[in-house]
C-alpha cells in the first residue's frame, strides 16, 4: 500500500477555518499556560505578591492605573496579584471534582455491563438518590456541618455529578449491546476488565467523557462563585475569583465596573480555554465521518 498520500478537504492553508483553528490553539496555550505559571509562581512563592496590601489612595481604581495593572478592589488591594493567587483556589480542587465525577461515574456506568439485575438496581437507586437531592441543600449542609473549605465544596460537586456520567455511559452501553458488540466481545474471550476499560470506556466513550470533563470543570468553578455570592465560598482574605467577583458586585451598581468584571472575565476566558481544548482533542480522535 502506498503511503504519504494526502487528502485535503476544503481546509486549504489560506482559508478562514485554518486561521481560526490556529488562533484557537494559540489562545488555549496562552490562557492555560498562564494559569499553570500563575499556579506554580504562587505555590512556590517565586515572586512575592502582596495580595493583602491595601493601597488606600487607589481604591476601586480602573485598570492601567499607576502601580496596578488591572486596578484595585474596594480595599485598594491589587487585582492582578489577587487574580494570580486566586488560581490556588481552583486548579487542584476543580480537577479533583472532575476526576471524582468521571472516575466513579464511569465505574458505576461500566458496571452495568454485567447486567446482573440486583447490581443494576443498586446502581440505579444510588444514582437516582444523588440526582434527587437538591445539590445546593447538600452543599449548604456540608458547609454548615464542616466548614467552608473549597475541597469539601468540590467533593460535593464531584459526587453530585456522578449520576450524569453514569447515566451517559450506561446509555452508551445499551446502544453497544443493541449492536451485539458486547456479546461478541465476551464470546471472543475478552476479559471483562479489558472490555469495560478499553473497549467501552476508551474506544466508545472517550469523546463523551472529554466533553463532560470540560463541562464539569466549568460547573465546579461556577458553583464556587455561586457559593461565594451566598457567602459560603472561599473565605476572605484568601482570594478566589468567586469572592473577588462577589465583593466587586457590591460596588457595581454605583458604576465601579472593573473590580468585578476582571475576575468574571478571567473565569470566562479560562473556562473557554478548557472547552476549546476539549473540542480540539475531540476533533483529533473523532473518526466518525462528517
Amino acid at each position: 500500500m502506498r503511503k504519504n498520500n494526502t487528502y485535503v478537504s476544503e481546509r486549504s492553508k489560506l482559508s478562514l477555518k485554518y486561521w481560526f483553528d490556529i488562533t484557537v490553539i494559540i489562545y488555549c496555550l496562552v490562557v492555560l499556560g498562564s494559569v499553570v505559571i500563575a499556579y506554580t509562581i504562587t505555590t512556590f512563592e517565586l515572586v512575592a505578591f502582596d495580595y493583602d496590601e491595601m493601597d488606600f489612595d487607589a481604591i476601586l481604581s480602573p485598570p492601567l492605573s499607576a502601580g496596578h495593572i488591572l486596578g484595585t478592589d474596594y480595599l485598594g488591594r491589587d487585582l492582578f496579584s489577587r487574580l494570580l493567587l486566586g488560581t490556588q483556589a481552583y486548579l487542584v480542587p476543580g480537577i479533583m471534582a472532575v476526576s471524582i465525577a468521571i472516575f466513579f461515574g464511569s465505574l458505576l456506568g461500566g458496571l452495568t455491563v454485567f447486567g446482573s439485575k440486583s447490581a443494576k438496581k443498586v446502581i440505579k437507586i444510588s444514582t437516582d438518590l444523588l440526582q434527587t437531592m437538591p445539590r445546593l441543600v447538600l452543599l449548604l449542609l456540608v458547609v454548615a456541618i464542616f466548614e467552608a473549605n473549597i475541597y469539601y465544596i468540590m467533593l460535593v460537586v464531584g459526587i453530585t455529578n456522578i449520576p450524569t456520567i453514569a447515566d451517559l455511559i450506561s446509555r452508551r452501553i445499551d446502544i453497544l449491546r443493541d449492536k451485539s458488540f458486547i456479546e461478541a466481545s465476551i464470546a471472543n474471550g475478552t476479559p471483562k476488565y479489558t472490555l469495560i476499560v478499553k473497549h467501552i470506556l476508551w474506544y466508545n466513550c472517550r469523546i463523551l467523557l472529554i466533553g463532560q470533563a470540560a463541562l464539569g470543570m466549568a460547573e465546579a468553578i461556577l458553583m464556587e462563585t455561586s457559593l461565594s455570592y451566598l457567602g459560603f465560598g472561599v473565605q476572605e482574605p484568601t482570594p478566589s475569583w468567586g469572592n473577588m467577583v462577589q465583593s466587586g458586585t457590591n460596588y457595581l451598581l454605583q458604576g465601579n465596573l472593573w473590580s468585578s468584571t476582571i475576575p468574571a472575565l478571567a473565569i470566562m476566558f479560562v473556562l473557554l480555554a478548557f472547552y476549546l481544548v476539549s473540542e480540539v482533542i475531540i476533533k483529533r480522535i473523532d473518526r466518525s465521518p462528517d
Binding site: T6, Y7, S9, E10, S12, P289
Partner: protein
C-alpha cells in the same frame, strides 16, 4: 436501440484513512450500463467494492473524499441526467498517475449539489435493498408504517388507507405469513430473514424503474430464496423493472442476471453475458473467475493448496501492477513483466465478453 436506463462511466472512489494517512482506492474507473428491463449481476469477493458501487449510484456515499471522478447517467423520461455533472470543478487532483496524489475536494458544496440532484431520483427512479436489513429499518416505527411511507412519498394521490392496503399486499407478495399482523410489527421483533423480505417489499413498493439489491437473498433459506427469486423475476416482467443484483451466489446470477460483472479489489476484472461468465468448462476466464467457478462447480479441485507464495515486500506500487498479480497462478514468463509493470485494460474477447488480463491480449 433505446438508451440504457443507467450508465456509469469511469467511476473512481477513494477513501481517506485518517490514522494511516493513506488514500484507499476503493473503486477504479468502473464503467458499466444497465439496459431497460435487464438484470445486471455483480459478483466479487468481500471488500471488493460492490456495496460502494451501489451507494455511489444512489448518491449516498458519505466518507471522505468519496467519489472523485466519473459520470452516472440516469435515463429519465428520455432525458439523461448526469448526477456527477460538474464534479471536476469541486475537485482537484494532482499527479493522478504517480505514486503521490493529492486530492482536494470541496465536500460541503459538493454534497449539497449532489443531494439536490438526487431529490427526484431516489425512490422514484431507483430504490435499494440494503445488505443488512435489520439495521436498515428504523427500530422505532413498525415495518408496515415504513413501507406505506415510501408508497405515500412516491405515489401521489394515494391516501393512508389505500397505502396501508398496498403495503399489506406487498408483504403478502414477499411471502410474509399473517401480513396484517406483521404490518404493526417492529423490526426488532422480526428475524433476519423476515426483515430481508420486508426490505424487499419496501424497495419494490415505491415502484422504481431500477432496483438495486445488495445481496437480497443472503439471509434466507433455500425455499424462500427460490420464492423471492421467482417474485423478482415476475415483477421484472410485469413492471418492466431493471435491476442490479449483488450476490456471492452463482445460483442467483444464473436465475436472474442477463449480464454479470466480476469485481476484484475495486476493479471490474471480467464482464460478459451470464452464460459466458458461468461457463465453467471454458478456459476463457480471468484467473480469479476460474478460481471462483472451480470452487463453486468442481468441488474436487483443492483450491487451498494452490495459493501462491509471493514476496509482498518486493511488489511494487499497487497502481502499477495487475490487481490480481499477488495471487495469480497463471502468470506465464512471457507476460510476467507486463503483469508487474502495468494494469491490464479490459480486453474484449467476443460478443461483449471482456477480461482484464494480459493473457488475452491479441
Amino acid at each position: 436501440m433505446t438508451k440504457p436506463i443507467l450508465e456509469v462511466k469511469d467511476l473512481s472512489v477513494r477513501f481517506f484513512l485518517e490514522k494511516e494517512k493513506v488514500l484507499l482506492p476503493a473503486l477504479n474507473q468502473i464503467s458499466f450500463h444497465v439496459n431497460n428491463n435487464e438484470v445486471l449481476g455483480i459478483v466479487g469477493e468481500s471488500g471488493s467494492g460492490k456495496s460502494i458501487t451501489l451507494l455511489s449510484i444512489l448518491g449516498l456515499l458519505q466518507a471522505n473524499p468519496g467519489i472523485i471522478s466519473g459520470e452516472i447517467l440516469f435515463n429519465a423520461n428520455e432525458a439523461n441526467i448526469n448526477t456527477l455533472e460538474d464534479i471536476s470543478s469541486h475537485i482537484e487532483i494532482e499527479n493522478f498517475e504517480k505514486a503521490d496524489e493529492k486530492i482536494t475536494k470541496k465536500t460541503n458544496t459538493w454534497n449539497k449539489l449532489h443531494a439536490s440532484r438526487y431529490k427526484k431520483i431516489l425512490g422514484n427512479q431507483v430504490s435499494m435493498v440494503f445488505q443488512n436489513p435489520r439495521l436498515a429499518f428504523n427500530p422505532y416505527y413498525s415495518i408496515g408504517k415504513q413501507i406505506s411511507e415510501s408508497i405515500l412519498l412516491h405515489q401521489p394521490n394515494t391516501d393512508k388507507e389505500s397505502a396501508k392496503k398496498t403495503a399489506i399486499d406487498w408483504l403478502k407478495r414477499v411471502k410474509m405469513e399473517a401480513p396484517e399482523l406483521r404490518y404493526n410489527n417492529n423490526p426488532y421483533g422480526l428475524s433476519g430473514g423476515l426483515c430481508q423480505r420486508a426490505m424487499i417489499a419496501m424497495a419494490l413498493a415505491s415502484e422504481p424503474s431500477l432496483l438495486v439489491a445488495d445481496e437480497p437473498t443472503t439471509g434466507l433459506d433455500t425455499t424462500i430464496q427460490g420464492d423471492i427469486l421467482t417474485l423478482l423475476e415476475e415483477i421484472r416482467i410485469q413492471q418492466k423493472l431493471s435491476m442490479i443484483i449483488v450476490s456471492h451466489d452463482f445460483n442467483v446470477m444464473h436465475r436472474l442476471a442477463n449480464r454479470v460483472l466480476v469485481y476484484y479489489n475495486g476493479f471490474i476484472i471480467e464482464e460478459g453475458n451470464t452464460n459466458n461468465i458461468l461457463d465453467y468448462t471454458s478456459d476463457e476466464h480471468h484467473p480469479y473467475t476460474s478460481l471462483l467457478l472451480n470452487t463453486e462447480f468442481n468441488q474436487h479441485v483443492d483450491v487451498i493448496n494452490k495459493t501462491k507464495d509471493t514476496d509482498n515486500s518486493q511488489s511494487k506500487s499497487f497502481f502499477n501492477q495487475c490487481p490480481y498479480y499477488n495471487n495469480c497462478l497463471k502468470v506465464t514468463p512471457e507476460i510476467s513483466n507486463k503483469c508487474q509493470s502495468s494494469i491490464p485494460p479490459l480486453l474484449p474477447l467476443h460478443d461483449s465478453h471482456k477480461i482484464r488480463c494480459w493473457r488475452f491480449e491479441k
